[in-house]
Amino acid sequence: MDKTPLSPHLQVYRPQLTSVLSISHRATGVVLSVAGTAIILYWLIAIALGADTYSEAKEILGSLPAKIVLFGWTGAFYYHLLNGVRHLLWDTGWGLDLPTAYKTGYGVLIFSILLSISTWAYVLQKVVS
């Protein structure tokens, strides 16, 4: 069997904001790559196939469960976007010290919630009017 030493097992560490945000960046990345693109493809292909297919897709995507999924998609998107910017800033060497990493970490969480809510406030207000 392969006995190459691996990095320490993550389970021995107490979860911290920094480590949870780090793994969430990957988790949201996978979700957006797989489920996010699948939803976009479904929508685009339904339009390409014509009015009948589109109205079926619209009914499914406009239903309440789908709206909840889409809200989650928006949340994952804003989280990955803001945390991605945080990563790009780290690449320049900025914000790597622990106090700043915590501040930007909380900032990413708060702003991804605020942006998701305001995006959906805009969407729902547009649908109603």
Binding site: D2, T4, L6, R26, G29, V30, L32, S33, T37, I40, L41, W43, L44, I45, I47, A48, G50, A51, Y54, S55, K58, L61, G62, L70, T74, F77, L81, G84, V85, H87, L88, D91, T119, W120, Y122, V123, K126, V127
Partner: protein
Amino acid sequence: MGICTPKGCVMSISFLSKPKAANTGTNHWWWQRATAICLIPLSIWFVVSVLGHINDDHAAASNWIKSIPVTILLLSFMVTVFYHAKLGLQVIAEDYVHDASTLKTILFFINASMILGGLASVSAIVVISFIIP
């Protein structure tokens, strides 16, 4: 051949240390950042405007996509997002999958599905913009 240590060669992790890997690694890192920067404006535009069209009927949705700026932005977004997704999924697989042949299989499926997804979205946009009335 390669730059692996004798132990590394014996333990058949030598595929990780072929001289070529150094170059492709930098390339991968660079493209992941380049696509990320492009996606900052593109993805905000995409998410906000697509959700804004959630209640459109077929004519309104296809007319929106048919406008030339939207066609261009949509195509740019889809190509960039699928390439960014391929690079991201690849780095995750390389970090967590330690068996060389399993890794190769997973990388094959990542590449195949992201290429297919990219082609499907591009062709759907082309159909909407130029083919359907």
